[in-house]
Amino acid sequence: MSDYLWDKSGEVDPEIEQLEELLGTLSHKPHAATLPDSLLSQVGARAFTHWSEWAAAAVLILMGLAGLWIGSERLDARAQIPSLATQEIAVAPVETGHISETAREVRREAHSHNRSNNEIASGRPFRRRPLFNLYSNQNSAQARSQTNVPQSANQDAVSQTPMSVEEIAEARRARDELILALQVASAKLNHAQHRAQSLTSTNPGLNP
């Protein structure tokens, strides 16, 4: 084997030298490769396709932010509960069969305030059962006087755990709305059952 082919020492082999010249044009050149013009023209259109990428990325970012926001809202709501619980009110001891009129007035005022705020916020008055509070209070007052129970059950519930005025007002409003919601649900369920029953009674062959 020729030494020139191995390590370029010794006598020059003309055939190898000729091959070196021919293939040398394809040797490594340390500069950046350039794209052909045909490809460069296509890359120009890439900017137009970018919007879909950005849209998808924006959707993902928005969904992530929405998730974070919802999570933080829930955490805030949970954090507010203990802070509300710290705002305790001093409930004066009440005599048998009597409820502190002052406390009752304060709660009533807070209750009506909350209710009117909600009605203003919704833009329409809520449809509520008329005089439910009065009705239930009268019933509980009668029951109290008949059975000599020192306080109404509601007052028991309130006094067992310390609640702030705002909490009591919110709980009362929530209770009223709960009763109303359950009555609507119950009425609608019964209505549906009756409609189905009346249908089957008039058409015994039907099975709704």
């Binding site: 009705y135 059950a153 009362r172 929530a174 709305e177 009763i179 009555q183 009756h194 409609r195």
Partner: protein, 192 residues
Amino acid sequence: MNFLKNSTMKLLGLALFLAIACASVYAQSGRIETSGIDHLASRASETVDINMDERLLQMSARLLSTQDQDEARVRELISGLKGIYVKSFSFDHENEYAETDVEAIRSQLRAPGWTRFLGVHSRHDGENVEVYVMMENNLIVGLAILDFEPKEFTVVNIVGPVDLERLSRIEGQFGVPDFDLVRETTPTRRNE
């Protein structure tokens, strides 16, 4: 270019998957979205809009007596519930809501998990009453009652384990003799 297309399609696919996953999680919870019919409030003569989440339910339960029979029943009924949502619109005139409003609710109840428990469609008086339940391990974990009448649009959604028998007994309690949203009443079940 293929890389760009592929990456874009992957991102869009991922976004779609996340959106569907979020929607299915919402649907699986037994909750239906009713904000799409809020615009009916502007046309309604009377509106009932009640949104009670778990926190409000627990808060109201604190004021419910264990000694009063009616309130004790409610207390039992709502134990374990995660939410009660009611939207009811009463109109002065007919055709105040569109079929799209109905479809906005019904379409959610075609999702997996929901079963139509009862449906009454009356061409005579134009009333449609439908009751849907979501079952999980032979337990009702979601309830939806739809009542579409010519002058009324009502959607009730209860999330959580609900006893239908107990719920049906609530009507007419608490000293309220009648509930004027319903034309037909159930005298045999009142004040049980």
